[in-house]
Symmetry: C2
């Protein structure tokens, strides 16, 4: 397995799914993209590291590929953007062989195809751990990207789905919710729908409701009163409040904005900035979600 | 050291050097960039991994930051593009502390400032090794990016500087060329000059002359006759031919194109595709540069 052979194989597997935007993908020093007139481009990078975000025992090669891309796609969703292209940096032990590598790219490219995002390039290295870093780019009409900073006092707080399943699967080692851990589904279509609905702020729930809500409050300079925690069946309140990797979207919208019930569940309201960022049951709620350096 | 504190500190250090293009940098789910009318955007990702591309014994925190960005900037240079923004994914052991982290960002941001490229975002993780992945983006007037695939038979082959210093420093553990290992200088200005001169193909010399020249030949479907290997003083021919991390630019231009002597040294010519990609001293030259999976 030489590097030239590897790149040729990935290039073949990636196909020519580049679409309109991608002028040149894998095979040069850089990929080349021609931006769409009147659109902004958004960018995010997310790492998936062996022993930290997954293990080779619990995650198949395809799970790792899926999860690495899903994390970044979820950020594109939170901006209300349409996916355009992505780059993948992959380090892996050569002893894993071609079969593992094929599985990885199958998981990655299946999800990519589903969301019509083109593999444009990346980097490869031989290393003793599996390390993935995915950079995704999406587009939005200029000036319309959803931000964390747009929430206003009086806005209603919403979440796009039930919470805590991934955390519960991890804590209780349950088969039932295992797929939420292994194959998280980024809310890409829903994010674009929220943008068109004109919501005021948005974030994806990767690190837990309490921490990510705190982030919206910080960036918007408001506080939030959490009135309801929509826990999935069998999930503890603790898991729903602080558990990571739900990959639902948390957003705010003015009271006057009609948010269809199939889009999201109202869970609270935004208020002028108080002493604490978030209040729950009349008490300050300390962010206890997944802090990578806690 | 909490993640929120860390991000706030990086955000402060990065400043507001975003320039025109960067609508929103660190602090949201994605960075937002408004592309310049009539321009293409180019993208590249490069990993710098502890134990593979550097060690903490030989490289200071600032060296690691510099090198991680330099690798990607060199790819932007090879496309003839003007740097616009970059994302940094960084995993590191928390025990290294704030001092190491400050050093890392100082090395990174000093080089960034020098080339006027804005830190737009990235990812952070606590891990037992230092791992960096840098994604850089640059712009070129639409359709003018330099490719590996544009070389034609009859073109002259050039390199922008003397070769083998980084490889020699590594092999001989010499102080003299140590800075070429620790602080490689990407040829960003020169890359843009080559684009304006109208050269026919270009690649950056990261993996060694023999391997990178092979790549130009493969992509351009031609062969090359190497006539001269411009080794730096005290460097062996082997090091100049196959040593990595020179970060000079290797390019081709039609015979009729005048290339100023301060820009590059002619080292050979391109010929119709033969049995081998590269010939040197009347014999096929096997690519023996740095193959990450050899």
């Amino acid at each position: 397995m030489s590097e030239l052979d590897l790149i040729a194989a990935i290039r073949k597997q990636a196909g020519s799914s580049g679409g309109r935007a991608l002028i040149r993908g894998i095979g040069d020093d850089c990929a080349i993209v021609r931006p769409k007139l009147g659109h902004d481009l958004v960018y995010t990078s997310d790492m998936a590291l062996e022993g930290r975000h997954f293990t080779l025992d619990t995650h198949s090669a395809a799970d790792v590929g899926h999860k690495a891309l899903a994390r970044s796609l979820s950020d594109l969703a939170a901006m209300g953007s349409k996916p355009v292209f992505f780059l993948v940096s992959l380090a892996f032990p050569q002893r894993l062989g071609k079969r593992w590598l094929n599985g990885f790219y199958r998981g990655l490219l299946t999800l990519a195809e589903q969301h019509r995002i083109a593999l444009a390039g990346g980097d490869l290295a031989n290393y003793d751990r599996v390390l993935v870093d995915v950079t995704c780019s999406g587009e939005v009409p200029a000036g319309t990207a959803l931000l964390r900073s747009g929430a206003k006092p009086g806005d209603v707080l919403y979440v796009t789905g039930l919470l805590g399943r991934a955390a519960h699967a991890l804590a209780a080692d349950l088969r039932r919710y295992r797929k939420f851990q292994l194959r998280p589904e980024p809310q890409v279509e829903l994010g674009q729908r929220l943008r068109k609905l004109g919501v005021s702020s948005c974030i994806d729930l990767s690190d837990g409701l309490s921490l990510d809500l705190h982030r919206i409050c910080q960036e918007s300079k408001v506080s939030a009163i959490l009135e309801h925690v929509p826990a999935a069946s069998a999930v503890t309140e603790e898991e729903a409040l602080h558990g990571g990797e739900d990959y639902q979207l948390l957003f705010t919208a003015p009271k006057t904005k009609r948010i269809p019930a199939d889009v999201a569940i109202p869970i609270g309201q935004m208020v002028p900035r108080g002493k604490s960022s978030v209040y729950y049951r009349d008490r300050p709620l300390t962010p206890a979600g997944f802090d990578h350096f806690a």
